[in-house]
C-alpha cells in the first residue's frame, strides 16, 4: 500500500511539484524523480558524505532525509554549482589540483566544501581537514582535495590560509 504526498521543492533554481511516497529518500528523489544523478549514494547510512547536497544553504546528507521533509525547501546539487563552460572556483580548483580520481566522492566533497567556505572561518589546514572529515574518499588520500579547498578559499575570499 503506497502513500503519496505532494511536495514542492526548488532544485538548482527550478521549481518542481511531485507526488512521492513517505519513505522515498531525498537522494533517491533527486536521482530517480528529477534525473539529477550527480549526487551519489556511498553508504545510505550517513557516514560517507557522497550524498551531500545543500538544503536551504546548509549541507545535509540526502540519504538521511526523506523527500517529504524537503517540502518547501531550496536544494542545490552539484549540477547547480557550475557547468564545464562556467565552473565554480571550487570545481576549477579541484581540477587544477588533481582533487579527484574516480570522481564518485567528488559531488559530495564539493557541496561540503562550498558550505565550509561560506559558513566557517577555516583559519588553518586542520580546520579544512576537520570540515571535510565527514566525506570519505577512497582514491586520493585527501591531500590534493585539501589543497584544492585551500586554493579555492584564496580565490573566493582573497585571504590566504595559514
Amino acid at each position: 500500500m503506497s502513500d503519496k504526498h505532494t511536495i514542492k521543492v526548488r532544485v538548482n533554481g527550478i521549481a518542481y511539484e511531485r507526488d512521492v511516497e513517505s519513505r522515498l529518500l531525498l537522494g533517491d528523489f533527486l536521482r530517480e524523480n528529477l534525473n539529477l544523478t550527480g549526487t551519489h549514494f556511498g553508504c545510505e547510512h550517513g557516514v560517507c558524505g557522497a550524498c551531500t547536497v545543500l538544503l536551504n544553504g546548509q549541507s545535509i546528507r540526502s540519504c538521511l532525509m526523506f523527500a517529504v521533509q524537503a517540502d518547501g525547501c531550496e536544494i542545490t546539487t552539484v549540477e547547480g554549482l557550475g557547468d564545464p563552460d562556467h565552473m565554480h572556483p571550487l570545481q576549477q580548483s579541484f581540477w587544477d589540483n588533481h582533487g579527484l580520481q574516480c570522481g564518485f566522492c567528488t559531488a559530495g566533497m564539493l557541496m561540503t566544501a562550498f558550505d565550509l567556505i561560506r559558513n566557517y572561518s577555516l583559519e588553518t589546514e586542520d580546520d579544512i581537514r576537520l570540515g571535510l572529515s565527514g566525506n570519505i574518499c577512497r582514491c586520493t588520500g585527501y591531500q590534493n582535495i585539501v589543497t584544492a579547498v585551500r586554493e579555492a578559499v584564496k580565490t573566493l575570499r582573497a585571504k590566504p590560509i595559514a
Binding site: 576537520l130 572529515s133 588520500g141 590534493n144
Partner: protein
C-alpha cells in the same frame, strides 16, 4: 610553435570536467524504461543446509515480477569457479570449489545469495524479499583458518575431504645451513587483518536483452573483456552476442576485477524477463558480499650472523580464504604471492616456505591492492626492526647492510623472481635524507626526556608489477594478461585510441593521450580515448595489478609508432624525401634539420582516407594500427616509506607526524598521477595499519556491517605525504615504465608497526597483529609494564582487537 614534451610532465587531467559537474555516468546513473530491479534474500547463517523456501507471501507483494531460487537457475547457469588450470594444479593437489550463483543445498557465509527478487523498484523488491521465509538447518561454523585445517573440522565443501584448497611449499638455497650456527634468530607469529578494498561506489549491474538476442551488460567492473568471457562461459551464451560495458567506475582496487553471481544473474534475468534488469548494492551488501582480502597467519623466522648479515628465512603461512574461490584470479594468489615475495629487497642464502589455504565460513577473499605484498612487507619489515633491536643495530643500517646493491641488479631471488632493475638502497637513503633521520633521532631523545613517545619506522619493499601471461601460465591461472590498443587517425587529423585497459581513477584518458601525442607529434586535444566497451575495444585485461601504464601504455605507444611510420612513408612520398629524413613535430611531418620543408599531418590523414590512390605503392587506405602486447612476466618497482609517529601511552592513540615516500617506478609518464596514486595508496595502507578490520563473531555474524564499525580513513587520519622520486628505467618495457598503482598501500603497515614500536622502545614491545587500534596499543603497553614490575610471572598473550 613547438609542442612541449608531454611524457614526464605534470599535465592536468583531461577527463575531470564531467566528474566535477555531476555528469559522469556510473552504472546506476543509466536509465531505461520498464526496468526491473533485483534484490536478494541473503543468508543470515554462516553455515547451514537450506530447507524449505516459502515464496508465497513474497509472490503476492506489490510490483513483483519474478522470484527465483538456486533450484530455478541451476540447470541454466554453471557455478562460478575452476580458475586454476588442471595441468598445473590437478585435482589431487588443488580442490577447486563450485560457487553457485544462488545457493542450492547449503549456505557457507552470512550474506550469500539465496533468492533473487525482481520488482518494479528496489524498494518494492526489498519489501518482497523480507516476506520470503527460509528454513535453515544449522551446521557447525568454522571461523578460524587453523581450526578449519584440523582433522575432524566441519567440512565447508563436502565433496572434498578437508577444508584445504591448496597447499604449496617452496623456496631456494640451503635453508638449514642458513640457520645453522646463527648468532641471532628472530621468530614471530603474525596475524593480518581481514579487510577490503571498499570502493566508494559499490558494485552495480544493468543488463538489456535486445530483439537480436544480444545481451548488453553494464557493470561497475575493472575488466570488461574478462567479464564477458566468464559470463558467456557460465551462461553457455555465445560470447560474440554479449557486450559488456564498464562506464565510469567509482573505484575498484581489486575486488571489482572478478565475475560475481550478480553479474551473471542480471544478464540471465534480462534475457528471461525480456526487460532491462538492474542491481545496485548497498554498503551493507558490499561489506558482506563483495570480496574481502588479506587475512593471513604468518609464522616467520629469520637468522642473522653476529654482525647483522641476514642468512635464512622460514615462513609458514595460513591464508583464510573465506567460503569459496574467486574467479578468474584464484583466491590462493594472496598466500602464494606473499610467500614468493617475502625475501623483499634483502639477500638471503636460504629460504623455505609453506602455504596452506583454508576455507572458513566468511565471505570469500580475493584481490585488494598489494596482493600478498601488504602482509608480506609488514612481516618482513617488522622482523627487520626486531632483528635490529636484538643485534643492537640501527634499523636503517641493518637494512642497508643486507639490501641488494645497485650493481647487483638484475638479481634473481631464491624463489626465482628476476628483479630486472631497482634502487632499493638509493630510495632508502633518499627517504632518510628527506626525513632528516639523524635529526629525528636527536629529537626523539629530547622528547623521551620530556615523557613524550615519538618514533620512526621504515618500510621498504620491491613490488611485482605487470603480471604478464608468462607469469600467469607458471602460476597455473587459466587466463592471459596481455593488452591492446587501436590507434585510429581520422581524415581531420584527430586520433581515437581504443584500449583494452579500464581506467577507473588512474587517469588514462590523460596519460595515454600524453604517450600518443608525443609519439605522433600532435596535441592532447586532438586525441580521444575509448575504453570499457567490448564492442569497440580490442581484447584486454582491464586495470589492476599495476599493469596499465606498462601494458596499456606500451600497446598505445607501439600502435602509435606503426601509424607514425605510415605517416612518414606517405609524407616522404609527398615531399619526395626518404621517410628516415622526416620527423613528426608539432602537427607536421618535417625534414630533420630543414623544418620549413614540411606537410601537415592533417594533409596526410586526409589523403590516406580520401585519395588512397596517391599513397605509396602497397599502402592500404586509412591511418590505423593495432598492437596486441604481451609484456614480460614482471617488472619490479621499489619504494621506501618512512613514518614518524607520536603515541599517547594513556590512550594508545597513534598520531602520524610525518610520512615520507621515495618511490621508483621507472619512467614516469605524469608525476601528478603517480603522486595521486601513492597518496591514495598510503591512505588505504594506513587504514590497514590502524583502522580497518572486518570482524565476525563466533557464529559467523558480521560485527562490522557498516561504516560506523568498519573505519575507512577520513581526511583527519591521513597526513600529507612528502615525495621523492627516482627513475630507474627498466630495460624490459616500452619506454622503461614500471607499474606503481599498488605500491602506496603496501608499505604503511610495516612503517607504522615499526614507528609505534620504536616510539615505545622503553617498553620493548612488538606489534605482530593488525590493526594497531588504540586498544591494542594500550593493552600492549599495559602488559609490558606489568611484565616489568612482575618479571617472574608468565604473561599469556591475548589478542586485543
Amino acid at each position: 610553435m613547438a609542442f612541449t614534451q608531454l611524457v614526464g610532465s605534470r599535465v592536468r587531467r583531461v577527463e575531470d570536467p564531467r566528474f566535477l559537474v555531476g555528469k559522469a555516468t556510473y552504472v546506476d546513473d543509466i536509465r531505461f524504461p520498464d526496468t526491473l530491479h533485483l534484490a536478494f534474500v541473503r543468508s543470515t547463517r554462516a553455515h547451514a543446509r537450506l530447507g524449505r523456501i516459502d515464496l508465497d507471501g513474497a509472490r503476492q507483494a506489490p510490483g513483483v515480477h519474478g522470484i527465483f531460487t538456486g533450484a530455478d537457475i541451476a540447470a541454466a547457469l554453471k557455478p562460478i569457479g575452476k580458475p586454476y588450470h588442471e595441468k598445473v594444479f590437478p585435482p589431487s593437489v588443488c580442490h577447486q570449489p563450485k560457487w553457485p550463483c544462488l545457493a542450492t543445498d547449503k549456505v557457507r557465509y552470512v550474506g550469500e545469495g539465496i533468492v533473487a527478487v525482481l520488482a518494479e523498484s528496489r524498494y518494492l523488491a526489498e519489501d518482497a524479499a523480507e516476506l520470503v521465509d527460509l528454513e535453515y538447518e544449522d551446521l557447525s561454523v568454522v571461523m578460524d583458518a587453523e581450526e578449519a585445517l584440523k582433522p575432524g573440522a566441519p567440512l565447508i565443501h563436502e565433496e572434498f575431504d578437508s577444508n584445504m584448497m591448496v597447499h604449496v611449499t617452496g623456496g631456494g638455497g640451503d635453508v638449514d645451513a642458513a640457520f645453522r650456527d646463527a648468532a641471532v634468530v628472530v621468530r614471530e607469529r603474525f596475524y593480518t587483518n581481514r579487510h577490503m578494498g571498499c570502493a566508494l561506489e559499490g558494485r552495480a549491474t544493468l543488463a538489456k536483452f535486445d530483439a537480436e538476442g544480444d545481451i548488453t551488460l553494464w557493470s561497475s567492473n575493472q575488466m570488461p573483456h574478462m567479464l564477458r568471457t566468464r559470463i558467456a562461459d557460465i551462461m553457455g551464451f555465445p560470447e560474440h552476442k554479449l557486450r559488456v560495458i564498464a562506464p565510469d567506475v567509482g573505484g575498484g582496487f581489486g575486488p571489482k576485477a572478478f565475475v560475481y553471481p550478480e553479474d551473471v544473474l542480471t544478464c540471465y534475468f534480462a534475457r528471461l524477463m525480456k526487460r532491462p534488469v538492474r542491481w545496485t548494492e548497498d554498503r551493507r551488501e558490499h561489506l558482506l558480499a563483495t570480496f574481502h582480502a588479506k587475512e593471513d597467519i604468518i609464522e616467520c623466522e629469520m637468522s642473522f650472523t653476529a654482525d647483522g648479515t641476514v642468512r635464512g628465512m622460514r615462513a609458514k603461512i595460513v591464508q583464510d580464504l573465506g567460503a569459496y574461490c574467486a574467479d578468474p584470479w584464484p583466491s590462493p594468489f594472496e598466500g602464494l604471492q606473499l610467500a614468493a615475495t617475502l625475501e623483499g629487497p634483502y639477500k638471503f642464502q636460504g629460504y623455505a616456505y609453506e602455504v596452506s589455504t583454508a576455507w572458513t565460513n566468511k565471505m570469500t577473499s580475493a584481490a585488494y591492492r598489494g596482493v600478498g605484498h601488504v602482509p608480506g612487507v609488514y612481516v618482513q619489515e617488522h622482523m627487520m626492526d626486531l632483528a635490529a633491536r636484538r643485534l643492537g643495530m640501527d634499523p636503517i643500517a641493518l637494512r642497508m647492510k643486507n639490501m641488494i646493491r645497485p650493481e647487483e641488479f638484475p638479481y634473481v631471488t631464491l624463489t626465482g623472481l628476476n628483479y630486472d632493475s631497482g634502487s632499493s638502497t638509493d630510495a632508502l637513503k633518499k627517504a632518510a635524507d628527506i626525513l632528516g633521520y639523524e635529526s629525528f633521532r636527536r629529537e626523539q631523545l629530547e622528547a623521551r626526556s620530556q615523557g613524550r613517545y615519538i618514533g620512526v619506522g621504515v618500510s621498504t619493499y620491491i613490488e611485482m608489477t605487470v603480471f604478464g601471461t608468462k607469469f600467469m601460465a607458471s602460476a597455473g591461472v587459466d587466463h592471459g594478461n596481455h593488452d591492446s590498443a587501436i590507434v585510429r587517425m581520422d581524415p581531420g587529423g584527430g586520433v581515437t585510441l581504443l584500449v583494452g585497459t579500464l581506467s577507473h581513477g588512474q587517469g588514462h584518458q590523460t596519460t595515454f593521450a600524453q604517450l600518443a601525442a608525443d609519439e605522433l607529434g600532435i596535441r592532447m586535444e586532438d586525441i580521444k580515448l575509448v575504453q570499457g566497451d567490448t564492442q569497440a575495444t580490442p581484447y584486454g585485461w582491464g586495470t589492476g595489478a599495476s599493469r596499465s601504464a606498462v601494458v596499456g601504455g606500451g600497446a598505445v605507444v607501439q600502435a602509435a609508432r606503426k601509424v607514425k611510420e605510415k605517416i612518414l612513408r606517405i609524407a616522404g612520398k609527398m615531399l619526395e624525401v626518404s621517410p628516415a629524413d622526416l620527423e613528426l613535430v608539432s602537427g607536421k611531418a618535417q625534414v630533420k634539420g630543414a623544418p620549413t620543408r614540411a606537410v601537415a599531418i592533417k594533409e596526410v590523414a586526409r589523403m590516406a582516407t580520401f585519395s588512397p590512390g596517391r599513397l605509396p605503392a602497397g599502402e592500404e587506405p586509412g591511418l590505423e594500427a593495432t598492437c596486441y602486447y604481451d609484456p614480460p612476466a614482471f617488472t619490479f618497482a621499489n619504494a621506501t616509506h618512512i613514518a614518524t609517529v607520536e603515541v599517547d601511552i594513556e590512550t594508545g592513540k597513534v598520531k602520524i607526524l610525518r610520512y615520507v615516500v621515495v618511490e621508483d617506478c621507472g619512467k614516469i609518464i605524469n608525476p601528478v598521477i603517480v603522486e595521486g596514486q601513492i597518496t591514495g595508496g598510503v591512505a588505504q595502507g594506513l587504514g590497514t595499519a590502524l583502522y580497518e578490520h572486518l570482524l565476525y563473531d563466533e557464529h559467523g555474524q558480521m560485527l562490522t556491517g557498516s561504516f560506523m564499525d568498519y573505519l575507512v580513513p577520513t581526511c583527519t587520519e591521513v597526513p600529507n605525504v612528502e615525495f621523492g622520486h627516482i627513475e630507474t628505467l627498466t630495460p624490459l618495457t616500452v619506454g622503461g615504465v614500471k607499474g606503481m598503482g599498488e605500491g602506496g598501500a603496501i608499505a604503511p603497515p610495516g612503517a607504522i608497526a615499526n614507528a609505534v614500536a620504536d616510539a615505545l622502545a622503553p617498553f620493548d614491545v612488538k606489534f605482530t597483529e593488525l590493526p594497531l587500534t588504540p586498544n591494542r596499543v594500550w593493552d600492549t603497553i599495559r602488559k609490558a609494564r606489568e611484565k616489568k614490575s612482575n618479571p617472574d610471572v608468565s604473561h599469556a598473550s591475548t589478542s586485543a582487537t
